[in-house]
Amino acid sequence: MTAISPPAAQPSAVGRARQWLRDRNVPPVYGILVIIFIVAILLDAFFGIDDELFILNQTILTNILVRSVALGIVAVGQTFVMVGASIDLSVAYLISVTAVGASYLMAGDPNRVWWTVLVLFVVGIVVGLINGTLITRLRINSLIATLGVGLILRGLLNATFENFAGSVPASFQTFAYGTIGPLPISVLVLFLVVLAGWFVLRRMRYGSHLYAVGGSEEVARLSGLRTERVLTMAHVICSVTAVLTGLFVVSRLRAGAPWVGTDGLYDLESIAATVIGGTALSGGKGGVWGTLAGVLIFSILDTMFNQIGIDAYMKQILRGAIIILAVGFYTFRSKAEQG
C-alpha cells in the first residue's frame, strides 16, 4: 500500500490527499466515480435537453440512489461470492422467482406478507446451498453450475406459474415508495446492506476466512479452514441478497413478471459493477464499498444518458466501452503500482 513514497520532504496537497485516502482504504474506483459525476454535470450543462441542471434537482439526485438499490443489494452478495473466487449467474433468475413468488403468495393480502417473505428467504437459502454444494462438493465450475441452476429456476418458474397472477399489498410497497424524512426507505436498506456486508467482510472472522479462501483455496485448506463451508456460505449470502433485490423489485412493480430479473440484466451487471468496484474475478480482493461505487456509476450513467438524450443503441455502446475502460484503468493502475 505504501509503494509510492512521497516525492519530496514536503508532500504536495494532492499527495497528502492521496495518502489520506489510501490510509483509509478508499477504493480507487471512487476516483472514477467522481470523474464520471463531474463529466455528467458538464455534459448536462452543455448538451442537456432541458435548461435545468440535474445536480440542482434534489428529486433527481435522490433518484440516482433509488436507481442503485436493486442492483446494489444483489451486487453486495455478488461481491461476497467473487471475493471467494466464485461467481453467481443464477441471481437474475432468483430475482424473477422471488418477484413472481411474492406477488403470487401475497395475493394482495397484507396478512400474508411476513410468511411469504420468510418462505422466499428459505428458497434463497436453498438455492444458495445448491449453488455452493455443486461448486464446492461436486467441483463444478461456478459459471456453469450457477448457469445451470439459473436455467432450472427459469424452467420451473415458467412451468409452475402458467399465469402470473397476484400482486403485493399496498402496505408492502412502502419498501419501495416510502420515505423517512427526505430519505427513501429503500436507499436506507441499501446502505444497511452495504454496511452489513462491510462489517461481515472486514470485521468478522468469517470475512477474513472468505478472503483467504478466495486468495488461495489450497493455502486456506492447508491452514485448517473448512473452505467448502466458507464458500457455500458466500453463495447463501449472495442468494439471500438476490431475494432481497427481488422483494424490492416486486414492491416497486406491484406484481412480478418472470422476466424482471433477466431483463434487468442483474446477473451480468452485478458482476460488472463488482469488478469495476475493484473486486478481482480471481478472488481474494475487493470489498462492498467499491461495489457500491460501481453501482452508482451505472446509475449516474443512466441519469446522464437521459439528461442529454442519448439514443438507446449508443447507450449500449457507451456502457460497454465504459465497463471495459473502467476495469482496464483499474487493473492497469494496480499493476503499475505493484511495480
Partner: protein, 333 residues
C-alpha cells in the same frame, strides 16, 4: 495426461481392459448417441437422409461456433461476445449487401474483417489492459450489438441476397441422389476438420493448450503468450462471423438471431469435456456436445415437453455432465 493409470496395478483381465477403453472415451459421444437413437425412436423419419441432413444443417452453426469458442476456452478465457457478433453480422450484412447479389463476396470479406477487428480488440483488452476476459467480452457483447443496432437504427434494413443466404439455406441439388445436400454441412465438415487439425495436430494447438494449462510454464518455454491469446480471440470472433452468415442465411434478417448463443456455446463446449479456465479441450468432443444440445432440443420438442421445462432439463444435463467430468478427472488423479 495421467488418465489411464488407475488400473495398471490390478489384474489386467479382458473385461477390465475393455471397460477402461470404454471409460477413456469421452462420455459426450455416448450422450449424443443415446439422444440420436432416442430421437429416431420417437420419429423414425428422422433417419431419412434428407431429414437428417436438414437437421445437420440446423445444428451446423452452433457446432461451428462451439468449435471457435473452444479455442478461447482452452487458452483460459471466455468469449461472451459471440451472440452479439452473430446478430451484428446479420444486421450489418443486410445493410451492406442490400439485396445486391454482386455485393455478396465483398460483404462477406468485410464482415470477416469486422470479426478480425473485434477479436483483436477482445484479445488486446484482455492481454494488454489485463481486463478479465469475462468482463472484456461482456463489454464487447454490449458494444457489438449496440453498433449493429445503431447503424441500422434499431430495425433491420435491407435484405440478404440469395447467394449470401445460400450458405445457410441452400444446398447442392441432387448430390448423392439426395434432394439437397446443404452447403452448411459442407462448411461444417471443412471447419470441423480444419479446427481439429489446428488444435490437435499442429504446434499452434499444442502451445495453446499448454498456455491454458500453465501460463507461466508456457511463457518460460518460449511461447508468446499474448500473441497466442489474441489469436484465440480472433479465431473465435471470425468463427462467430461464419456462424452469423450461416444463421442469417438460414433464417433471414432479424435482431434476435444471436440471442443467448454465447452461453449455449460455452455449455456445449463444457458438455464436450472442455475445461473452463483452460488447459483441456477437444474439438470433436465439443462439437459432439453442440450436436447433443441440438438433439436434446429436438427430442424435448418431440416429447411435447413445454418450452420452460426444456430450459430446466438443459440446465440439469449441463450440471450433471460437468459434475461427471469433474468427478472422473478427480478420480483419475
Amino acid at each position: 495426461m495421467a488418465r489411464i493409470t488407475a488400473g495398471t496395478a490390478t489384474t489386467d483381465s479382458f473385461g477390465l481392459r475393455a471397460w477402461q477403453a470404454v471409460r477413456a472415451i469421452n462420455p459426450v459421444y455416448f450422450i449424443a448417441l443415446v439422444l440420436l437413437v432416442w430421437v429416431g425412436f420417437r420419429n423414425p423419419a428422422f433417419y431419412q437422409p434428407d431429414n437428417f441432413l436438414t437437421f445437420l444443417q440446423r445444428a451446423a452453426p452452433l457446432m461451428i461456433l462451439t468449435a471457435g469458442q473452444v479455442f478461447v476456452l482452452v487458452s483460459g478465457g471466455f468469449d461472451l461476445s459471440v451472440g452479439s457478433v452473430v446478430t451484428s453480422t446479420v444486421i450489418i450484412g443486410a445493410i451492406l449487401a442490400n439485396n445486391d447479389p454482386g455485393a455478396t463476396w465483398w460483404v462477406i470479406l468485410a464482415l470477416l474483417a469486422g470479426g478480425l477487428l473485434i477479436g483483436l480488440i477482445n484479445g488486446a483488452v484482455t492481454t494488454y489492459l489485463k481486463v478479465p476476459s469475462l468482463i472484456a467480452t461482456l463489454g464487447m457483447l454490449l458494444m457489438a450489438r449496440g453498433v449493429g443496432l445503431y447503424w441500422s437504427g434499431g430495425a433491420p434494413r435491407g435484405y440478404l441476397p440469395d447467394n449470401f443466404r445460400m450458405w445457410g439455406r441452400g444446398g447442392i441439388e441432387g448430390l448423392f441422389g439426395l434432394r439437397d445436400f446443404p452447403y452448411a454441412v459442407i462448411v461444417l465438415v471443412v471447419f470441423g476438420v480444419g479446427y481439429w487439425l489446428l488444435l490437435h495436430k499442429l504446434n499452434y494447438g499444442r502451445q495453446l493448450l499448454a498456455l491454458g494449462d500453465n501460463p507461466r510454464a508456457a511463457r518460460l518455454s518460449g511461447v508468446n503468450v499474448n500473441l497466442m491469446r489474441i489469436s484465440a480471440f480472433v479465431l473465435c470472433s471470425m468463427t462467430a462471423v461464419i456462424g452469423g452468415i450461416l444463421l442469417g442465411g438460414r433464417g433471414g434478417v432479424s435482431i434476435e438471431t444471436g440471442t443467448g448463443l454465447e452461453m449455449q456455446t460455452i455449455a456445449a463446449a463444457v458438455l464436450g469435456g472442455t475445461m473452463l479456465l483452460g488447459g483441456r479441450g477437444s474439438i470433436p468432443a465439443a462439437m459432439a456436445g453442440a450436436l447433443a444440445l441440438e438433439l436434446l432440443f429436438t427430442l424435448l420438442n418431440l416429447l411435447g415437453l413445454p418450452k420452460p421445462l426444456r430450459d430446466a432439463v438443459q440446465g440439469l444435463i449441463i450440471i450433471a455432465a460437468v459434475a461427471y467430468t469433474a468427478y472422473s478427472t478427480r478420480r483419475n488423479r
